[in-house]
Symmetry: none
Subunit: 277 residues, 2 copies
Amino acid sequence: MPQPPQSYRELETLITAEYATLSKRLQQTARFVLDHPQEVALATVAKIAEQADVTPSTLIRLANSLGFKGFSEMQQLFRSRLVDELPNYTERIRAVRSATGETPDSTQLLWEFADANRAVLEQLPSRIDPESLEKALDIFEKAHAIHVMGARRSFMVASYMTYALAHVDKPALLVNGLGGMYGEQLRAMSQHDALLTISFSPYAEESQKACEDAHQRGLPSVVITDSNLSPLARFADVVFVVNEAEVKSFRSLTASLCLTQTLAIALGVRQDKKRKA
Amino acid sequence: MPQPPQSYRELETLITAEYATLSKRLQQTARFVLDHPQEVALATVAKIAEQADVTPSTLIRLANSLGFKGFSEMQQLFRSRLVDELPNYTERIRAVRSATGETPDSTQLLWEFADANRAVLEQLPSRIDPESLEKALDIFEKAHAIHVMGARRSFMVASYMTYALAHVDKPALLVNGLGGMYGEQLRAMSQHDALLTISFSPYAEESQKACEDAHQRGLPSVVITDSNLSPLARFADVVFVVNEAEVKSFRSLTASLCLTQTLAIALGVRQDKKRKA
DNA sequence: GTATAAATGGAATATTTATTCCAATCAACT
DNA sequence: AGTTGATTGGAATAAATATTCCATTTATAC
């Protein structure tokens, strides 16, 4: 291997090509460096090795087996990539936009979506009331099981929440309406459970119904929606209002997802603490 | 000078403010570091000193006189600037974090998630190859119907994509494995269809199988995954590698969602154009 | 199963890089 | 011009970081 790559892109290609011929540890390492180029660019061998869960020697060996004289030489390529790619974000959007004129070509769309979602995420945490967060977590913690309801566009968020809750060992049930059994699934909620409903305009009939149902039966209920005036708001014990991004009249769900993810993991953290105590 | 700046922006302000009070050599050095932040982030003291036409000691002295313990500490700020473009934001996170007792853990988590996802979205568009985007759209446009496959964590993305495609009038089928019928659903793909698979480590068996299946039957196939070395990559006609955010070992799906959303809507735009023509 | 080669981890070492310190220089004031 | 105090350069030292080497483990072939 006398000819080391001269650019990051060449390096990427080389690693992909040679991957199969590498040993187990070297594969693990190769994979890590490709997946965390930023880390590799700036950290020390020891730090990177620790994060990749290998020994420093292995990193050196990887560099050597790719034709470099040592790790430092390889690191240079990762650094050059950082510098080359350093984008002034808004400038690049403008560049993409003007280069394509009026036509909404796919790359420009991608920039716009990414930017819109990014902006939404920037605002989200300061717009969520910390007390509401804690209150919602109280409800979830006390509940035996959490039923999660979301129809149409919101279904995805509900399904993700159910998945995440399961991963922090919280019994969670997705109200999916399979076989037209929304009613049956809702009736299955016990007095010790809680309901989380995600619903955006135009608020699906089923979601409203679920929320009202829980309210009448005295079940604790948390709602994620898009306005304080949402029909679901008045039935809930805790309401989260999230502002979603919109591009070309397509609304995204990034903020809601970020919030549900936080709820799930914060719940996990709480449960952990409680168990230890 | 007991309080060193915590972010690049703060540093910038401090240097500007203190500039007049600095000695001649220190002014020269300060000017250089502000004008060549990239250089300062990556080079060694000796190299920077040479370029700035001062001695290494001077650089150390500058760092010290700005409140840093040493040059390395100051360099960290230049590096962080290289990595994330919005020092304002990370500064706010640090503020939330350091306000001990006042802020509940859940709020801090929310800030961290929002930030991690934001950072990912910032990088996404420049890491997605425009050609791949166009190629994927070609495939989708030609396909009679698009089958969307995603298991476990990726299920949500698949389900969203199916929803979005339906909304741009593209026939889409979610391979959901309901009733254990993955095999049956996959066999139902016709020669004129296409497959979109979303899969992340640890790659679900079913997703790998779906992808391989399509490959063997000669169906066009697009994959969204987390590494060039993903087992699904070699079976696909187009591969999108997305870097997802990770907080407390919980991975998010923001980037994948943003990409799928873009694909769906870009497809919608294309179809619109074609219809008009 | 045993022998042989390849791969691995980790401590020892070499190298690079940052920092300190002091003598020399420069500037300000008497 | 001479004295004092701050500033500067550069060599000496300390710290950090990368690399090498070898004993041990793991895989491979017989």
